[in-house]
């Protein structure tokens, strides 16, 4: 049973504050190092459809373009098959970075969760722009800014500059509509084939956020989520009895960490399972990361998931 303290329900929200970049600064250089460690050169599109290079066959379904009907297969096997082609395409990458108050928190990790998320986002942008793909940016909480998808070096620089200037702020738990409003940009601007990567701790988000995030994977888009946690959030190593206060929402719990640890870890696992279930159902995946992880390894896991199709990463 969670014990809430009454006066905290009227607590004023925390003001935005400077992010603790810690070991993740300077962002521009660190992002380049990470990106070079992950990927060099152009990537192949995972999208199958109209193109110049044969990509296999599949059974015909009503509505398929009759131009791609494989007549030889019809004559040989008496079955309606359509031919698929792989094509090199400029699919856009949309980065959704959670810059709410909780992301600015730093426990025993090398920097804040926001810093780690920004590093991953910048590295992804670097990888994408290096391949000529356009990259868009949406900040949830914080300044709430968004950048349209654009390709080229300037786009990367703009994204890095925006991320570096970001300060944690905003309480997503207080207004469940904030997240939906922020993600509305994706729904409006991201075209079919776009890949959406959400970088968030997923902790202080309102109820139903898993469905909202997974909802990005519609209209030909695919969505992945990278949960960035501090090591303390992943293991809950505290020993002294304390009143634990959330940075977003009104949660204030007095508890004995030794006694509450198992229940906390179980609740965290349940939360992750809920997001994973929603994302996998829409062809995406949830990538778990803590700020003490090697960002190169995290991105490789993410890219492997993106390249290898839906499923847990």
């Amino acid at each position: 049973m969670t014990r809430r303290v009454a006066e905290t329900s009227r607590r004023r929200p925390f003001a935005p504050y400077e992010a603790d970049w810690g070991a993740f600064a300077p962002l521009r250089l660190r992002a380049r190092q990470v990106a070079e460690g992950v990927y060099a050169g152009q990537h192949r599109s995972a999208r199958r459809g109209p193109g110049v290079e044969f990509g296999g066959q599949r059974p015909y379904v009503a509505g398929d373009d009759l131009r791609f009907l494989d007549r030889r297969a019809l004559l040989r096997h008496d079955r309606l098959m359509v031919r698929q082609f792989e094509t090199e395409t400029d699919r856009s990458l949309w980065l959704v970075v959670d810059a709410s108050l909780s992301m600015g928190w730093r426990g025993s990790g090398p920097g804040s969760k926001l810093g780690f998320a920004c590093l991953l986002a910048a590295a992804l942008a670097r990888i994408a722009t290096s391949g000529g793909d356009p990259v868009g940016l949406v900040l949830v909480g914080g300044s709430g800014r968004s950048l349209p998808a654009a390709a080229g070096r300037e786009a990367f620089e703009r994204i890095v500059w925006t991320l570096e200037a970001e300060r944690p702020g905003g309480d997503l738990a207080r207004d469940p509509k904030d997240l939906e409003r922020a993600l509305g940009t994706i729904h409006e601007r991201a075209r079919r084939g776009s890949i959406v990567v959400v970088l968030s701790d997923l902790l202080d988000l309102p109820e139903g956020s898993a469905r909202v995030i997974a909802g990005l994977a519609t209209r030909g888009r695919r969505a992945w989520a990278v949960q960035t946690l501090d090591p303390d959030e992943a293991s809950f190593p505290y020993r002294q009895q304390a009143r634990f206060r959330a940075l977003e929402g009104d949660a204030l719990v007095e508890t004995d960490p030794e006694a509450a640890r198992d229940a906390y870890l179980a609740a965290l696992a349940a939360l992750q399972a809920r997001y994973e279930e929603e994302l996998v159902a829409r062809g995406g995946a949830l990538v778990r990361a803590v700020t003490s992880d090697d960002p190169v390894a995290v991105l490789r896991r993410l890219l492997r998931s993106v390249g290898g199709g839906p499923g847990p990463a």
Binding site: A242, A246, E254, T255
Partner: protein
């Protein structure tokens, strides 16, 4: 205790306030920012239990401070029981502290775990601590015989160390003698205010004796009345001798008490060799042995069970030997008793159960060698001595014999040439007297039984010439100064001379308690002078003919205690302050001797005391002490301690808070 004192002390109940505050305190745990707080569940507040441990010192200090505050309010009214001397016009005082170190003082002080002796000594120390310049204190011990432990001194440290060195003994009590010694000490002092402070349970075995008091300018003060208690009774094994197949023993109890239900146990170390129920009445008895028992220094006969004094419940068992006997020279025809039986003096000696063998003799032997087996000789109105008898008797006395001579009609009619010349100079005469008895005040030798000597129903008495009194002690006298009892020292020996015979036809002396006291003292002197193997505690073992003697007490438990020897009248003596077995080494070899508890010391009933000895103007046991300054200092110290504790606690909290802030980078 006054109402205000009670009220002030009642405020100490407010010590419950810090307790209540401490119990009601609900210290909040520190706050920690944590984004995943919504996933946490609350647990019981373990931290509050920890805070209780952390604050224990502070709580203790605060509770002490409340108590000190209450005490501070009450201190002007608090009294501290401490003996204090009240001085006449503020003048300096000369005091003799008479501390009773007898066996009865080993009993527990009423209502406490402290013995009477310890209480008496602490009272003496309190008086010594109140000494002022000009005061003089002497120390006399009232155990028999009375001793001066410290001559008059104005040095407080000397008095204190002398008192600290005191130890209880198994001696009998001689209050009259101690008071006499104390009075003599005070006579030499120039102080106007002279007092004898009696610290005793007054149990000297003479409950019915005249009340203790002092005459003249010396005042008697007994400042610790609670030492005298009538409620205790005690039983003891006086002595025990190992004979063939049995142990002969003598038990005694306080008047009216019996030892029925208790058991007699013969032990060698911790091993029980024989046991039997003790008879209900005290007295001589035997313990049969089922197997031979060797005489060792570990052999003790114990009377099991509880009573007032434990130290006298066991007696050392020694092998029976040839004890010096007491001879009674009496003319059976002349001293015939109408009811039959032995002469009165012989019957009286037998009734005292002194332990010595009694030998009636028709006449005195002519040779000194024949007198050697006797430690004492009683002469009941002898018709003079022949020259041979005088020579033999004189020689025997010179060697340490003790004789008791009763002078009556026949002694006064001794023919010329057959008198007492040589041992009692001059001629013994007999004359009529108008005094019917002696003056008790001049008969301190008899102790409390002296009162019975006031009327002896006599018409005639013996008289001695002046030559017989030269160098002699007149131990009891008639109102006109004529002696009734004289003690003469002849060489190493002692001659007691009574100017009345021991028959009932001439006087009532044999019917008086003083007669038994006389015989008892005579037997003690004979025992001590004749080299007896067993003496009463307080007396000395004597070793005629030995120049060097080493002696040590063999206690029941513990190592042997060396005893000092001294020489008196040319005889080496070793005093026996404690009951038990003594190992003595002389030029003849090693032997064992025994000191026994005196039966009269078992009478724990206190003797009467003159009312003036309780006069509150002499001093008292209650004096008020203002302890406010000390309590105030304590309170100040507690306040400082509390401040220090709070400072330490706040620094610790600040350090913990800084660590907490470091762990969480969130800032509001």
């Amino acid at each position: 205790m006054s109402f205000l004192t009670t009220l002030a002390l009642l405020t100490s109940l407010f010590v419950a306030a810090p307790v209540a505050a401490h119990l009601l305190r609900r210290r909040r745990a520190g706050e920690q920012l944590f984004p995943g707080a919504s996933l946490l569940s609350a647990t019981p507040p373990r931290a509050r239990r920890r805070s209780a441990l952390e604050d224990r010192a502070l709580f203790g200090v605060r509770a002490l401070a409340v108590l000190a505050l209450a005490l501070l309010g009450a201190t002007p009214f608090i009294s501290c029981a401490r003996l204090e001397l009240l001085r006449k016009d503020g003048a300096s005082v000369a005091m003799v502290l008479v501390v009773d170190d007898s066996l009865s003082m080993r009993a527990l002080h009423t209502g406490s775990r402290e013995t009477r002796f310890e209480r008496a000594r602490s009272a003496a120390l309190e008086l010594a601590a109140a000494m002022q310049p000009g005061d003089s204190i002497a120390l006399v011990l009232a155990g028999d015989p009375p001793r001066v432990a410290l001559a008059a001194s104005s040095d407080r440290a000397a008095v204190g160390s002398a008192l600290e060195a005191l130890e209880p003994s198994d001696r009998a009590t001689d209050l009259d003698g101690a008071l006499r010694v104390a009075s003599e000490l005070l006579e030499a002092l120039p102080h106007r205010d002279r007092r004898v402070v009696l610290l005793s349970d007054l149990a000297d075995g003479a409950e019915g004796a005249p009340a203790l008091e002092l005459g003249g300018a010396v005042e008697l003060w007994a400042p610790v009345p609670e030492l005298a208690s009538r409620s205790e009774v005690d039983c003891a094994v006086l002595h025990a001798e190992l004979r063939e197949g049995r142990v002969d023993l003598l038990t005694a109890c306080s008047p009216g008490a019996e030892h029925g239900g208790r058991r007699l146990v013969l032990r060698e170390g911790e091993t029980i060799l024989a046991e039997a129920p003790a008879g209900s009445r005290p007295g001589p008895s035997s313990l049969r042995l089922s197997k031979p028992v060797a005489s060792t220094t570990e052999l003790w006969l114990e009377l099991e069970g509880d009573d007032a004094i434990d130290e006298n419940d066991a007696a050392a068992v020694v092998e029976s030997g040839t004890e010096p006997a007491i001879a009674i020279v009496s003319d059976a025809a002349a001293n015939r008793v109408e009811t039959g039986g032995a002469p009165v003096v012989e019957q009286a000696l037998a009734a005292l159960m002194l332990g010595e063998r009694l030998r009636p003799l028709a006449s005195l032997p002519d040779h000194a060698e024949e007198l050697a087996p006797y430690a004492g000789i009683v002469f009941d109105d002898p018709p003079g001595f022949t020259p041979e008898e005088r020579r033999a008797l004189g020689s025997w006395l010179e060697k340490g014999g003790t004789a008791l001579l009763g002078l009556g009609r026949r002694a006064a009619a001794a023919p010329l040439g057959a008198g007492f010349e040589g041992i009692l100079p001059g001629v013994v005469r007999r004359a009529a007297t108008e005094h019917r008895g002696a003056e008790p005040a001049r008969c301190a030798f008899f102790g409390p039984s002296a009162a019975g000597l006031a009327d002896l129903g006599l018409e005639q008495r013996g008289t001695l010439e002046h030559a017989a009194l030269e160098g002699a002690d007149v131990l009891c006298a008639f109102p006109d100064g004529e002696p009734l009892l004289v003690r003469r020292h002849l060489g190493r020996g002692t001659l007691f001379v009574v100017t009345l015979p021991f028959g009932v036809d001439d006087s009532d002396l044999p019917l008086r308690p003083a007669f038994l006291a006389l015989l008892e003292r005579f037997a003690e002197a004979a025992r001590a002078g004749g080299g007896a193997r067993r003496v009463d505690v307080g007396q000395s073992f004597s070793f005629p003919g030995h120049a060097k003697v080493e002696a040590s007490l063999l206690p029941r438990r513990g190592a042997p205690i060396p005893m000092a020897s001294n020489e008196r009248d040319g005889v080496v003596r070793v005093a026996a302050p404690r009951a038990g077995r003594y190992r003595v080494t002389t030029s003849d070899g090693e032997e064992l001797r025994v000191a026994s508890v005196a039966a009269r010391e078992l009478d724990l009933r206190p003797r009467a005391l003159a009312p003036s000895a309780r006069n509150p103007e002499l001093g008292g046991a209650s004096t008020r002490v203002d302890a406010s300054p000390y309590v105030a200092m304590l309170l100040l110290g507690l306040v400082a301690l509390e401040s220090a504790l709070r400072l330490v606690a706040s620094r610790t909290a600040a350090r913990a808070s800084a660590q907490h802030r470091g762990a969480s980078s969130a800032a509001s």
